[in-house]
Amino acid sequence: MSLTQAEFSFVSTLVRREASIVLAPGKEYLVEARLIPVARAVGAANVNEFLADLQRKPNPANQRKIIDALTTNETSWFRDREPFAALTDVVIPELVKSRSAARKVRIWSAASSSGQEAYSLAMTLQENLPPGWSYEIMGTDISTEMVKRAETAEYSQVEVNRGLPASQLVQYFERAGAHWRVTQALRRNVSFRLLNLTTPLPAMQPFDVIFLRNVLIYFDVATKRTVLQNAAKLLKPDGWLFLGAAETTIGIDDNYERVAAGRTSAYRVRNGVAAGAPRRG
């Protein structure tokens, strides 16, 4: 039985309120497909029964499961490739000059999902920073399940086929039964935490680079602006922001400017002024 309009409305209101994600009409099938395993896991006969129970008796844990199910996406290693090429060819060489005193680079993977982006960033830094440099990658996600999964750093055979060069598979992974686990040498530079990008962010050391890719597409304009302003507070004044190919700050937050980065584009805070602050002259 497919979702009724009222059920879809209940789910979209919940996801909008808790995760600021807009589920436009037409996504009923997607919602149902994502919730079928959740309903089964809690012992409901079907999604309709699961939602009816939840509406009668609110249950934060089950609400959380809905958010998790609707905010997680399949991802691949070095997704879209160009941002990683830009990091190698443009950003890292610049950081090696500008951070020569600290010899440390910090990158934030701001919607880290199951961790492939964060570990891809770690591999990129591992291979391109000069000897004696260190790096930290922080991955954050709104889904507790995904944060746990990224921390375990284990991936199935099918997952390691997705965009990961074989040479890096053998260099940075080890077999863990039927799965592959990221090696400790890489994992020790990568951490994950739960974070909602749309709410005020906790204090953290600012980052040299932020990967905020394929996140803004889920939000309305006001929420996109909030997320971009939040990101700017954690971006060093000369840092780099990478968005998804279909995303931009233009028309949303003029405190950023788009700059060329290899064969793609990145964004930098205009005149080194934190986004959200009044613009200079």
Binding site: R81, N161, R162, G163, V170, E174
Partner: protein, 128 residues
């Protein structure tokens, strides 16, 4: 562009053929490494790509890769192992023998296209 699909399973050859044909390759099939080498000897133009199973009768995939790498006429071929062999040491052996990439079965069409994209054989986003 031409792609050679080398696998003793007819079903697997069909799957791989469908993928490479979608990417505008003209597909040539062989049931084992020996048959593939014989075909290559007869072909005027060397295929740009070979997708190679590991375990096959007559000549296995690893031996095929070694033969190709030893033949200057075939040096431009991009070699991708497509196999159920999934031990780390086997991947290392295949890469050391001269394979450019390694896809572990089972794989999805998207994963195969992503691997070929890594090798510059597919325009970015062709699988989206």
């Amino acid at each position: 562009m031409r792609a050679m699909v080398i696998d003793d399973s007819r079903a697997m050859r069909m799957i791989l053929k469908r993928i490479v044909t979608k990417l505008n390759f003209e597909a040539v099939e062989a049931g084992d490494g020996k048959e593939a080498l014989d075909l290559l000897t007869e072909m005027a133009e060397v295929p740009e790509l070979a997708l190679i199973d590991w375990n096959m009768p007559n000549m296995n995939g690893l031996e095929f890769v070694s033969h190709v790498r030893a033949d200057p006429r075939l040096r431009e071929m991009t070699l991708v192992m497509v196999t159920t062999e999934s031990e780390q040491s086997q991947i290392v052996r295949a890469l050391a023998a001269g394979a450019h990439e390694y896809v572990i079965k089972p794989f999805t069409e998207g994963a195969m296209i992503e691997k070929l994209a890594l090798l510059g054989l597919v325009p970015t986003g062709a699988n989206s």
